[in-house]
Every structure is written in C-alpha cells, then in structure tokens.
Symmetry: C2
Subunit: 457 residues, 2 copies
Amino acid sequence: MEQTIVLLGAGGASFTIALLKDLILTETLSGSTLRLVDIDEGRLKEAKEIAESYNREAGTSIKVEAYLDRRDALDGAGFVICAVKIGGYEPLEAERKIAQSHGYYRGIGDRVSCYFGGVGAYLQIKFLEDVANDMMELCPDAWLVQTANPVFDGTNYLTRYTDVKTVGVCHGHFLAYNVAKIMGLDKDKMSAEIIGFNHYNMLTDFRYEGKDAYPLLDKWIAEESEAYWKSPAYLESTNNYGAVPEELSPGAIDFYRIYGLLPIGDAVRSATPWWHHTDFATKEKWYGPNGGFDSEVCWAGYINDKTVYRDAIKDVLSTGKPITELSPLEKSGELHIPFINSVVTDTYERFILNIPNNGCIPGIPDDVMVEIPAVSSARGVQGIKMDPLPRRIMDNVIYPRMRTMNNLHEAYRNGDRSVLVLELMHDNRTRSYEQAKNLIDELLAQPWNKEADAHYR
Amino acid sequence: MEQTIVLLGAGGASFTIALLKDLILTETLSGSTLRLVDIDEGRLKEAKEIAESYNREAGTSIKVEAYLDRRDALDGAGFVICAVKIGGYEPLEAERKIAQSHGYYRGIGDRVSCYFGGVGAYLQIKFLEDVANDMMELCPDAWLVQTANPVFDGTNYLTRYTDVKTVGVCHGHFLAYNVAKIMGLDKDKMSAEIIGFNHYNMLTDFRYEGKDAYPLLDKWIAEESEAYWKSPAYLESTNNYGAVPEELSPGAIDFYRIYGLLPIGDAVRSATPWWHHTDFATKEKWYGPNGGFDSEVCWAGYINDKTVYRDAIKDVLSTGKPITELSPLEKSGELHIPFINSVVTDTYERFILNIPNNGCIPGIPDDVMVEIPAVSSARGVQGIKMDPLPRRIMDNVIYPRMRTMNNLHEAYRNGDRSVLVLELMHDNRTRSYEQAKNLIDELLAQPWNKEADAHYR
C-alpha cells in the first residue's frame, strides 16, 4: 500500500538511515515515497544519496525525494515524521555555559533540559506550531509522528492547541531489556509495562516467565549490586560516548528505593532527584564513571559521536563503498514505521506511545500526554487503562514535570517572560528571584534568541 | 432542638468563649449541652467557670459539662468540634530553633509549618486518628467539625482513612472583606467566591454591586497602592501582636501579579512564594513592618497575646467581674455553630467549608479536601461546582501543597522517615540530602517526639 511519508529533519543521518531501512523492510509499504526535508542543502543532498545507495544495493521500490521547502513536501502527505532540532546543538551548549556562570551546573531545569532546544523551548514549540498550521492546510488528514525532543512538551502543545493528529514516539523504554540482561535473565522470557511521561517513565509491571520479577530485582540488589558496581562490566563497559550502562546504576536503584518503581531509559537521568546531579563527582557516584549521558564528558562524546558517524557516511559516499557495510540492512527497532504500517494496514498492534491521557493513568488530566501501552490501527490510537501510579511518584515526580510543561506553555501562549522565571524559581539551585530573572534575561539576549526575546515580554 | 456538642481542646479560652456565645445566641439550639474536654485540669475548670458565668449573666439554657476523659464526653454526642493543638506551642518553637540552626529560617516547610504541630504533623494526625476511632465506637453518627491546624492535612486524613463524617472549618476567608475596606468600598455591597485548599485559597470571583470588582482592584493598585504602603493606615495599623494588615500588602499584590488572583486570609502568608520569606528584612518588604504574622516578632506577639487574654479571664474569675464586660455577648463570626444549626434544623445554608473535592474544582483528585462554597443541611454538605483555577495556580501553588499533604500521609501510613526527608528535599533551602536527613533525625530525637521517633523508622 503506497504511502507518502515526510521526514522533517532528514539531515540527521543516523535517524534517516534507520527509518529508510525499516521502510525498505516493510513489504506492505512497498512502493511508498519518502520525502526528505531539511533546510541544510548539503545534508539534504547527502541524505538523498544515502537513500539512493540503499535502493541501488537492495533493489527496493521506495521512492526518495528531497525538499528544501517543507510545504512542497507536506502537500498530500499521509504521515509526517518530525525529527527537527531547530538551531542545532551549538546554541544549546552556549546556553548551558551561560547558565553555569549563574550557578546552574549543566544548564536549566531537569536533565532533559538539554533537549528543550533553548530557553523555554521557544524554537521547538514555534516550529511545531508552524508545521501544524502547514499540515492543516496541505495534508489535514495526515498523522504527525513527533520524535524530536522535547517529546512531552511538544506533543502536548500539538494536541492541546492544534487539530493535527499527533502521536509521540520514543525508543527509550526498550532499555528495560537491559535490566534483564544485567540481571542475567533471558530477555525473551521478560515482559514489561512502562508508563509515565516521556523520559519520566517507570517499570510498573515487570514479569519473568509470566511471574512478578521485582522480587528477583530485590534479590539482585541485595546480593549482586555492590559487586556489579565494582565490576569491569559496569566500570569499563561504556558506550561510544563514554556513558556506563545506567539502567541498574546506583542512581536508578536509589530512585527505586525512594519511590518503589524502577525508572527506565531516559528516566534514569531525567526523572531522578536533583541531589544526584549537583556536580560531576556526584553524578559519577550515582551514574558511574563519566557521570552518565548528560555529564560534560559524555555529552561531549555524544556530540563527537555524531561527527564520527557523519564522516563515515561521507567516506561511503565519496568512495562508493556499499552503504550496507556501514549500516547493514536490518530493522532499526524504532517504532515509527511499524506504527505507520499498523495504521495503513489496519492491523491492531501494541506499542508504547505518547498520547493524551484520557483517563488511562488515574490522577493525570485528560489532556496531558502520557507514554503508555496503546493499541494502534486505522481507527487511530487507543491507550490501555493502567493502575494508579504510587502516590509518591505522582506528587514528587509526575506533577512537577507536568508543571514544567504547563509553565513553558503558559509562558509561550501569553508571551510572558515572568512565567519562565517562575518555573526557574522551582529549581533547587535558585537562591533569589534576581538570580533567575538575570539568567532568563541573559539567555534571551543572545543573538540566536532574538525572536524569543521579542516574544517573551 | 437540644443537641450534645463536644468541644475537644476547651482549654483554649478565646475559642471556647466564641463557641459558647454563638450557641447561646442560636435559639433553635436552646437547651443543648456543651461538653468541654481538656486534659489540662486547671484550664478545663476555668473554661467551665467562664461558661457558667455567661449562663448566669445571660440566663441561658445551655448546659455545660466538663470532662478530662474525652471518651466519656463522646458517648452519644451529635457533634464534635476539635480545636486541639497537641503539645502546645513550646515544642513548636523549639523545633523552629533547631531548624534554623540547620539553615531553615522560621522552620520547616511553608509558612503554615507553624501549625503542623511538630515534624510530620505526627502528633496531630495520630490524635485525630484516635478521636476518629473513639467516635466510631461511641458516637458513629456524629459530625467531626475539625478546626485545629493543619486543617487541610488533618481533614484529609480523616476523610481518606476513617469513616467519620468530617468537615473542616476556618474563618480565614472572611478577611476578604478587609480587601473592600482597604479599597474604600462598602463591604455590604461586595460579594466574594474564595476557593482552593485551606490556607491556600484565592479570590476567584470578586463583585461589587454585582459587577466584577477586579478592575477596581487593578485601579487601586495603579493609583493608590504605593501611597497606601507609605501611609500610617498601613505602616502603623498593627493588630495586637504587631502584624500590619496583610490583605493588600506588596506580597499579596505580587501573588496577584504572578498568578492572576488575589490570595485571601492565611493564604497571604502561606501560599505566597518562598522568595518572599527568606529572612526578616525580606518579609518586612513584602508584608510590612514586623514582617507579617509568622515572623519572629509577630509570632512572639501572638503567643504573648494568648497569655494576656488568659490573664484577663483569670482576673474576671477571681474578682467576679461580669464576663460580658470582657467579651460582650454577640456572635463571634465563627462558622461552627451556624453549620451545626443548619444540619440540626435542616436549613440549607451556604458556607465556605473544607470537604472532599468530588469534582468541584477540575483537576483536583476527588479525595482531596478543598475549601469551597458548599451547601449544608441535614442531608450533609454538598460542594458547589467551580470553574477551573488558572493553570499556573494549579501547577505552582495547588499541586505542591497537595504534595506536602500526601507526603505527610505517606510517611505516617508507612512509618517511613525517608518520606519526611523527601518532602524536605523540595524545600528551596535544602542544599543536600544529608542536611535534610540530619534535621529530621535531630527533630525526631527530641524528648517530645519520642513516639514519633519510634514510628518513623
């Protein structure tokens, strides 16, 4: 069934390759068209060449088109996948440095702050709003599959204030399988229910061979955790950018001790308490050597990792080496194409997706996006009703994150700078109103925030 | 219609007098019995003598009985009014001093912390639980009218975890009339809707001669506030204990500026932001000379005021002067007896009461106590459905206060000291986990907290 799928932000090479491979390997979508969109002409050209290499090598039927203007690409599209990070990472790093000089180690907000795309997430929210307006004009029935951060704040904006059919997709919850792996369990015998907000999700149901596996975790903590944290498997097993496996780090286990559920994936660094993240040494204590993904060391490695991958791609393109050698043609594990396929073929499939709560998690307002098990089909997406989260997670983790999102929206909708300051007043590092206000003012005074500076009066 | 009304904590002379006067002046309750209960024999005797003086002077039909054992008094009661502050104020002051030595000016938590009755509100919650158990045994159909602080945390505990019919009563919202008075308006032409939690309530509807009066407030702020804050009416008009009128203080107006609604009564000091309350000089800036009710100066005056009143009563009792000279026989303005009267006579009356939300304020869980307009009768209490509170009040004021209450309950129900520490980690003055933990440990190690120390493992 031929579809027209638009990828916004196609210049991010690794995600474009992942998506293309999934599309190639999904037979029911054969003959579909993938429209690559990026404002960076050089990167767009690269992305198209890579796609054509796959087509050539694999002999597939996927048509690939490249667009500098997103409106041309959106016209008549069936699905729009948004992977756009406006402004790239340089302003983000510059904003972090400014925040540090005001007393905010590693920048404003929680550990996901790095994904907000700048103060107040202005650029990301504004972009999504523009895309939604374009879609309502050019492809009003299309689905917007939002995958760029902040997924929680962004998809919430779309569902609250626009009429675009929106779903949020993130792969972080798959890291639950690493929990089984570290515990020495067979991951194929494990099942998991992971719920909450995006990057704030917890393992609410954990089974091994059909039985509750939390007692196994308790046993592992009592008998094996200390040895594991001293073992080479933990201390020396870093990924490319230098982060150790965080899933069962002391920080994740401390979260479990406080709240009674294990945080999963990005939640291990985003939803864990502020006193785990006060400085590099403290981060190392809780999240292992190099201090976890968001530390200055690992984040620099992550940025560098992107350059290394891009160089490898450039090498492939210039030498004519097979692209399938760099990135073999196998499924990526991302949910975007499987989700699209279930909608297109009207096949009921269970994914973990970001959708408006509508009563699925008790105590969360209906119009707030939750990341929960959901069933997709041509009918759309239906969330599965969950048990309540533990009260202390609701009060100490969920509502504070909801507040951040709501405050960003309040500030944006009203062009009200004081609400950006208000949000920062909740930050434990804030000592005075002036300190917070000065930081917001200085951030908005940067050249890349000119539009935001005018917006937030 | 003769009723049996129990007053727990009758040794607090001024409240006992207020209640008795209301009872005497409510004809439909003539012939009722007021059972005074206190564990302090001397104070109980005093209270009984005062009551008898009123009876003698006014020739009323109210029977007064005194009980040292509350179980004797509860037997067969129709209404139980609870005004008990366990342990008195001395341990509270001692705990504040300890907290200050750990970096927490004026004690733990928000400004209502002074009313928690000690770390974790243990003594108050435990007492209410015991009273509820006694009532279920001795007077299962009686209403518990809870008026001792913390009203919010206490009534929530009662309605969630016991079967006693509970309502919370506080007179703070009547201070809305002072707003009209300060603005130079005729208070009889004003009407007000004040909603939220106890001590966290806002003026959601403010009318003068039937029309929205917020524009009048905006005009007053623009044209008169600065002059008012420099006038003797503000700077010199203190109450007995040295607090200036807080209703339209710079702090109250700043709350209005941030959130869009005026805080009322105790909310002016309890719900206003932490950066208004960092030290005495800052409190003076926002709440006038002497820094508002909770400052070290005014609080000391408040405690002293109680002694002065008690001395005056002792003087009346020893000299045989008429009690009606010290406290003339007129209605007190408290809601307890009018509420009881409406239930007894099945007269529908509108009060502002603390009851489980049950959908009245959107976004607040059904089982959380809200202070809202409600209609009472023999049928019980029915809340009136309200419009949503502004989102920024929900996120930045309401949910954080709900968190404090839930965390106190979580700690109490599970005997879990770490949840007391967790709550304190949200305090902006907390710099490290150790700082908070050390404070909780030191507070629980005090002699008056021996039982709590054993409870919170």
